[in-house]
Point group: C3
Chain length 273, copies 3
Amino acid sequence: MLGTCLDNVRKTTPLVHNITNYVTVNDVANILLACGASPIMSDEPEDVEDITSICGGLNINIGTLHRTSIDGMYRAGAKAASLGHKILLDPVGAGASHLRTSTAVGLMEKIPFTVIRGNISEIKTLALGSGTTKGVDADVADKVTDENLDSAVAFAKNFAKDHNCVVAITGAIDLVADADTCYVIRNGRAEMGSITGTGCQLSGMMTAYLVANPDEPLKAAAAAVCAMGLAGEIGWSHMKPEDGNSTYRNRIIDAIYHMDGETLEKGAKYEVR
Amino acid sequence: MLGTCLDNVRKTTPLVHNITNYVTVNDVANILLACGASPIMSDEPEDVEDITSICGGLNINIGTLHRTSIDGMYRAGAKAASLGHKILLDPVGAGASHLRTSTAVGLMEKIPFTVIRGNISEIKTLALGSGTTKGVDADVADKVTDENLDSAVAFAKNFAKDHNCVVAITGAIDLVADADTCYVIRNGRAEMGSITGTGCQLSGMMTAYLVANPDEPLKAAAAAVCAMGLAGEIGWSHMKPEDGNSTYRNRIIDAIYHMDGETLEKGAKYEVR
Amino acid sequence: MLGTCLDNVRKTTPLVHNITNYVTVNDVANILLACGASPIMSDEPEDVEDITSICGGLNINIGTLHRTSIDGMYRAGAKAASLGHKILLDPVGAGASHLRTSTAVGLMEKIPFTVIRGNISEIKTLALGSGTTKGVDADVADKVTDENLDSAVAFAKNFAKDHNCVVAITGAIDLVADADTCYVIRNGRAEMGSITGTGCQLSGMMTAYLVANPDEPLKAAAAAVCAMGLAGEIGWSHMKPEDGNSTYRNRIIDAIYHMDGETLEKGAKYEVR
C-alpha cells in the first residue's frame, strides 16, 4: 500500500540533507516541508559531514556543479554511507557535459546510492557511460512509450541490477525498478514539464520517503513518484484560465501539503511488472 | 508605537546588503521590496566592501556557508561596523555543525551586531558555545512556553547584556530583548513553520527596520517581529481550502506589501517585560 | 511584426545557457519555460564550454559575482562567440562596486555581445567607465522621461554604435536601440519594480528571442521588452485586492506562459525613432 509510505513520512518527520542546485533549491525545501519532512542544505566540504550526520538521508543533485560542491558530494556521500543512510542521486544534465557525466559516474563508483532518479536520457548516459541530452529534458526520440515499454522496463531492471540500487526513470510514463520488479506509473500531466525543477523536487521528496520507509526502497520510491504525479493532477484541477506555470508550481507543492495516505492510495495509477 | 517603525521604512527606503543563503534568498529580496526597502545581495569578498558602503545595513545569514562567503561576511562586517551601519546576524543552524557554530561565534567576536535573531536552539548554542539543533528548527524540548516564560525572558535579557546587542528569539512566542526590556510577542501562526525561510525573511526585513529607526533598535526589532507574525495571520485569512505552504509563502509577502503602520499598530500582540 | 518574434520562440524552443545570479535564477528558468524556451544554468568554468556548446544563446548576468563565475563568464562567452551564438549581458549593479563595473567593462572588451540590457544607471556606467547606482535600481535623477527622451534616444543609439550591439535600457520608458533605430516602448507598470528580478527575467527571455530570430536582434529585443511589459499589464489585471508583489511575480510569468504572437502584436505600445 503506497499510502502507508506517505503516512510514514508525516509520522517521522525525516530530516533530509540536500546538496542540490541553486536554481530550484527553494522549491525542494518547500516540497520537503509540504510532505512532512524537514530539509537542510549544505554543500561546503567542511560542513557536510556534520550536517549529514544529523540527518536520515542525503539527496545529491548535480544540476549546478561547482568544484567545491563536488568535493562536498563525495565527502557527504562517504559519511552518509558509513552511517547507513539512504542516499539518492539526481544526475541532472548527465550527458550534457563531460563534468556532469564524469561526476555522476564517479559518484556512482564511490557511493552506494539507494536510488538513482533521472530522465531516460540521463539514465541512459549513466548506463552507457556516454550520451547526449538536450539540457535537462529527456531526449524526445528516447522517451518511454507504450510501444517501447517492454524494452524500457527491461532496461530499468538491468540498470537497477547492475548498480545494485533502485532506479526511477521519470517522464510521461514513469518507471521505478529494482532488479526484479518495475512499477509502471501513469500519474502526472505534461504541463509539469513547463515548470523548472519538478524533477528536483521529486528527488528531494523521494529521499524523505526512503528515510521514512527504510525497509522498502522500491515501494517508497514508487510512492513518491505517484505522489508527485498525483499532485500535478490535483494542482491542475485548481488552475484558473489565467494561471500558468508559475502558479502551477505553487499548486503542486500545495497539493503535496494536503495529501494524505488515503488520497495517494486512491489516486496512484500504476501497474507492477 | 511600533507602527511608526514600519512607516519609517516606507519613508526612507533603506538599502540593505544581504549575505544570505541561496535557499531563501529570493524571498528575502521580495519581502524587503514588499516592506518598502531595497535589497542588494553580494558575498564575494572582493565585492562586499563596496556594496556594504552604499547600504545602510547588513544582514548576515549563515544558512549555506561557503569558505569564500565566510570571508565575505568578515570583510563586510568590518566595513559596515566602521561606517556605523546596523548589522544583523541570523545564525541559521548554529549547533548543527562545527562550521556553523564556530562561524557564528567568530563573527560575534569581531563584529558589533545590532541584533542577533534566531530560534531558541540557535541562541542557546551561541550562549553556551555548544549545543545541538535539529536542522534549522528549534529543538521542541527547548521551546519558549508560558510555563518557562520567566526564565526565557531572563535568558534573553542576559544574552543581550552579555553581547551588548538586541536579541530576537523567534518561535511560537517571540522574545525581543535588550539588557533591560523584553517584548513578548504572540503574533503569527504555527503553519508559518511549514514554509522555508520565514526566519530568513524576517531577518532581512528586520535589518531594514533597524536602518529606518536608527535610535531605537529594540523597538524596531520588535516591530519587525510583530509585522512578520501579523502578515502570517493576514495571509492565512486569505487562504483557500486547496492552498498550502507554497501559496502561503506568497500570501505572507503580499500581506507585508500591503501593511501600513496603522495596521501593524492595531494588530501587534505583545507585552513588555 | 513583433508578434512573429514570440511565435518563433514557441516554434523553435531555443535552449538558453544562463550564468546568472542566485537571487532570481528560479524565476529566470520559469519565465524561459513560460515563453517556450528551455533553460540550462551552469557557471563552473570546467562545465560552461560544454553547456554553451549545446545551446543557441548565452545570458550573462553579473548580479552575484564570484571569482569562479567570472572565469566561467569569460570562458562561456569566448566559446559562444566562436560558435556564433547570441550573447546578452545584464550588467546588474554596474557602478555599485568596482568589481561589478570592471567585470562588465572587461566582458564587453572580450565578448561580442548581441545585446546589453540594463537600467539607465548601469548603461551610463558602462558608457562612462564610472558612475554610481543605488543598488540595482536606476538612479531616479537619471531616469528616461518624456522631457529628456530625445537626448536619451541619442545616447542609446550612440552606445549601440560605439559597442556594435543592440542596447536595451529599461525603466518607465524603455529604449531598445541599434546605431540607427530606437524603439521607444511604453508597456509595463510601475509596480513591477517591487518584484525582484523582473529585469533578470527579461534578460533571460530576451536571449531566447534573439536565438529564435537570428537575423533581427533589434526587433527581437524590442519584442521581448514589449512582452515583459505587457505581461506586467495582463498580470496586474488578474490581481485581487489582497495580492501583493509575490503573487504579482507569479502572475507575470503566468501571463508570459499564455501569451501568443497576436496578443503581443495587439498589446505592444511603442514608436520607432
